[in-house]
Amino acid sequence: MKDYREVLKSFESIAGPIKPHAEVLRRYAENLKEWDELLVKVFYDTLFSYGTSASIFREGERTEREVALKMWYRRVVSGEWDESFWEWQFRKVGFAHVIRGIPNEFILSAMSLLQRTFLEKALQEFPVEEAVRVYTAFKHITDAVATLMAAGYMYCYLEALSESTGMPPALIERHAVLLARRIYEEI
């Protein structure tokens, strides 16, 4: 399994360093934490209104999920991200989605919804320039989290396949290349 630090390193090399964004969020953290109710409501109203995503949840589970999302959101906007934070994103938040069978397209779509809702709220609460600065910081960190989750999801499947069949990762990659090439050439 690829280490989350390697994934984060790739993210920072391509998307830019995380630290400056942490400083921005820390400055606004107390304000931003108050948006948790709104964000969580929009998030779960949307997920529960779409049949396929709604079917993932157990009956009566919404309250429990809302508490977890609020906790996650408040930690994200705190700008206090140490090693344990990133490990939590990769191992707990990320793999919780594998355990629940929530695929990457749901994770990335839900993150996009969260980011857009945050932007709308920021534009309501701050002058445009400030709103853009706060939103950019939030987007950067949540993109990093989404990257970790998506990568963790894929590596978990690859590792499971490799572990159960004994196929080395290079062989699995070979199968993927052959399949992708076939699909690519069909168009």
Binding site: S164, T165, G166, M167, P168, A170, L171, E173, R174, H175, L178
Partner: protein, 127 residues
């Protein structure tokens, strides 16, 4: 390598095709009396070799030496060659299995020598 694989295919009427692959699924060579997708067949043979190794490991019965798949009209024999390669022999169904192994063993020293030349001295072990 091609000449050796051609020789193996030609050594028995019942042998239809031979595919030599790395354990990560890259074909090192093939010979066939019928058209085959050697790239995909190589990846499939490598997977069979991996799966058999994992199964025998879990069962605690030592490394896999031979895999035999019998289908409606044919058979596939897979022999891991060391840790880095495997060979797949596709035959008709009505074939004497011992004869296939004999043919492979007869040509194996030459195949291994050729592999050593291709991959370096990392093939280790024999059928």
């Amino acid at each position: 390598m091609k000449a050796l694989l051609d020789e193996l295919v030609g050594s028995l009427n019942e042998i239809i095709a031979v595919v030599l692959t790395t354990t990560d699924g890259f074909p090192l060579g093939f010979a066939s009396k019928i058209p085959i997708d050697a790239e995909r067949e190589a990846a499939a043979i490598a997977s069979l070799a991996s799966l058999s190794t994992r199964s025998t490991d879990l069962a605690g019965i030592g490394p896999a030496e031979e895999i035999l798949i019998t289908s409606e009209i044919g058979r596939i024999f897979v022999y891991p060659i060391g840790e880095l390669t495997a060979i797949g022999i596709i035959t008709v169904r009505d074939v004497t299995t011992a004869l296939v192994l004999l043919k492979v063993r007869q040509l194996l020293p030459e195949i291994e020598a050729e592999l050593e030349r291709l991959l370096g001295d990392r093939t280790g072990g024999s059928v």
